[in-house]
Symmetry: C2
Subunit: 301 residues, 2 copies
C-alpha cells in the first residue's frame, strides 16, 4: 500500500511539476512580452520566438524559490523573465554557424536559420540587455536589484557563461582532451552559474538564507549537464528538439566519455539526491523542486 501510494504520489508530483513548468513558461513569456514592443524590425518577433517553447527551467526555479520564501509571483515574474531572456540569448549565439552551427533548437529552426545571422546576433544582444532591464523594472528594493544585476553580470560574462563557452570552443582544438575536473569547471561557468543564480534569486528577494537553494542549484546544474551529455548519446533529435550525437561524433571529452554511460547515470542520480537533501529544511514545500531535480535525470532514459 505504501509503495502504491508513493507511486500515485510520484505520478501526481510529475503532473504538478509539468503544470509548474508550463505555468513558469507562461509567466516568463508574459513578463518578457510586456517589455518588448513591436518595431519595424524582426528583432521583437525573434526575441519572443527564442523565448517560447523552452523548458523554462530557470524561470521555474526563480518562481519556486520565491514562493518558498513568501515572495509574491508578480514580484518574482520579471526576475524569472530576466534569467530566461539571458538563457535564450546564450542559446541563439551558441547556435550560430561560427559556434555550434545548429539548425534545430527546441524542435524549431534556430533564429539564424529562420531569419539570418545578423538578426540572430542582434536578437541575442537585445535579449541580454532585456535581462538587465527586467531586473531594474521589478518591484524590489534598489539594493536587491543591484545585487541581482551584479551577480548576473558576473555569472553571464567572461568569468561565467561566456568564459565557459569560450573554454568549450578552445577545448575542441586543444591537443589533449579535458579532464573531469576541467569539464566540471567549464560547465560550472557555462551553465551552472546561471542555474545557481536562478535558485538564489527568491531567497535574496526575501532577505532569507540563500545557502539551501544555492546548494540545490549547484547540484542540479551539475546533474543537468551530465544528463545533457547522456542525452547526446542516447536521445533522438525529435524527442530532444535539437541535434544529438554531435559531441560523441566529434570525439569531445564529456561526462559520458570520462565516466562511461552507467557511471555518468549514477553520478547524476547522486547529484539529484544531493540537490534534494539540500532542500530538507523546507520540508514538503520543496516537493516540486525535488520533483524537478528527479525530472532532470528521468530525461535520460
Amino acid at each position: 500500500m505504501v509503495t502504491g501510494n508513493r507511486r500515485v504520489r510520484n505520478l501526481w508530483m510529475a503532473d504538478a511539476l509539468k503544470d509548474a513548468l508550463k505555468y513558469a513558461a507562461e509567466v516568463v513569456e508574459a513578463a518578457i512580452a510586456a517589455a518588448v514592443r513591436p518595431v519595424k524590425t524582426p528583432i521583437p518577433e525573434a526575441m519572443m520566438y527564442a523565448v517560447r517553447g523552452g523548458k523554462s527551467l530557470r524561470g521555474f526555479l526563480v518562481l519556486e524559490g520565491a514562493r518558498l520564501h513568501g515572495v509574491q509571483e508578480r514580484i518574482a515574474a520579471p526576475i524569472a523573465g530576466a534569467i530566461e531572456a539571458m538563457h535564450a540569448y546564450s542559446l541563439i549565439h551558441d547556435d550560430l554557424p561560427c559556434m555550434d552551427d545548429d539548425d534545430l533548437r527546441r524542435g524549431k529552426p534556430t533564429v539564424h536559420r529562420k531569419w539570418d545571422e545578423a538578426t540572430a546576433v542582434l536578437t541575442g544582444d537585445a535579449l541580454q540587455a532585456l535581462a538587465f532591464e527586467l531586473i531594474m523594472l521589478a518591484d524590489i528594493t534598489p539594493e536587491t536589484k543591484v545585487v541581482l544585476a551584479h551577480m548576473l553580470a558576473v555569472d553571464a560574462g567572461e568569468r561565467g557563461m561566456v568564459g565557459g563557452q569560450a573554454a568549450d570552443i578552445a577545448a575542441e582544438s586543444a591537443a589533449a582532451a579535458l579532464t573531469l575536473g576541467e569539464i566540471e569547471s567549464l560547465q560550472a561557468k557555462k551553465t551552472g552559474a546561471l542555474v545557481e543564480w536562478a535558485c538564489a534569486a527568491g531567497p535574496r528577494i526575501a532577505g532569507a538564507d540563500e545557502m539551501p537553494m544555492r546548494q540545490y542549484g549547484r547540484a542540479l546544474g551539475r546533474a543537468f549537464q551530465i544528463a545533457d551529455d547522456i542525452l547526446d548519446v542516447t536521445g533522438d533529435a525529435e524527442a530532444v528538439g535539437k541535434a544529438v550525437g554531435k559531441d560523441h561524433a566529434a570525439g569531445k571529452a564529456t561526462f559520458v566519455s570520462l565516466l562511461g554511460l552507467d557511471g555518468a547515470k549514477s553520478r547524476a542520480v547522486e547529484l539529484v539526491d544531493e540537490a534534494c537533501d539540500a532542500l530538507d529544511v523546507y520540508r514538503e514545500a520543496a516537493n516540486t523542486l525535488k520533483a524537478a531535480a528527479r525530472f532532470v535525470v528521468q530525461r535520460t532514459h
Copy 2:
C-alpha cells in the same frame, strides 16, 4: 589682437581637449582592466584590444559631465568604463561578416579578423555584461545604479542601439531609400541614445539637473553622425582608421545623399552651436565639452 588671442586660445583648447580625450581613454582602460581577469581563453585579451585605441569620446563625456558637477573621478571612472565597454561590444558585433563585414577598425584588424568570428561574438557578449557589472561596482547609491542600468539597458537594447542597427540593416534591402526623418530616428537609436546616456550620467550621479547635458548630448550625437557620413565620402581609410566610401558605394541614403555635402556640413555646424549653447549655464567650466563638440565637425575637413 582679439582674433589673435582667440586663435591661441582655440589652439590651447584643442590641446586641452586632446589631453582630456587621451586621459579619458586611460581612465576607461584602467577601469575595464580592473574588472577583466586573465583566463585560459582569448576573451579577456580581445576585450582589452577592442577597448583600446578608440577616441573614448563617450568615456570622456561621462568624466567631463561628472567633473562639471563636482563628482570625483574615481566615482565616475567605472561609469565611463561601462559606456565604453558597451560601445566596444557594439562595434565588434557591427563589424562581423554577417553585419557590416569590416576588416579594419580604429586602424587595426577587427576582432573577428585578428581572432575569429566565435571569439568576436563572445567578446562582444562579455563586454555587454561587463558594462552592467561596472555600473554595479561603482561607488554610488543603489538608486543611482538602478537608474543608470535601467536607462542603459533600454538605450542599448531593442528600443535603442540594437533596434537602430536592425533598422539600418533592414533599410539596405528596402525598396525605397530612407527619408531624412527616418534616418534621424534610426541614428537617434543607434548612436544618439548612448551618447546622451554618457552626458546624463554625471549630473545624475550628482543629483543635479540633467537637461543641459542631455540637450548637449542629443545635438552632439546628431552632429557626430552627420560628420561620420561626411567622412564616409571625404575621408581616407588610413586617417579614419576604418573602411570609408562603403555607404556611398552602396547607394545608401545618408545625411550627405539627402542634404548634399555642403548642406550636411552646415547642418553639423548648426548642431554644434546648439550643443554649445545648451552648456552656457556652466560658463567657462564647459569649455572642454564645447571644444569636443567643435572637434566633431573639424574631423570632417
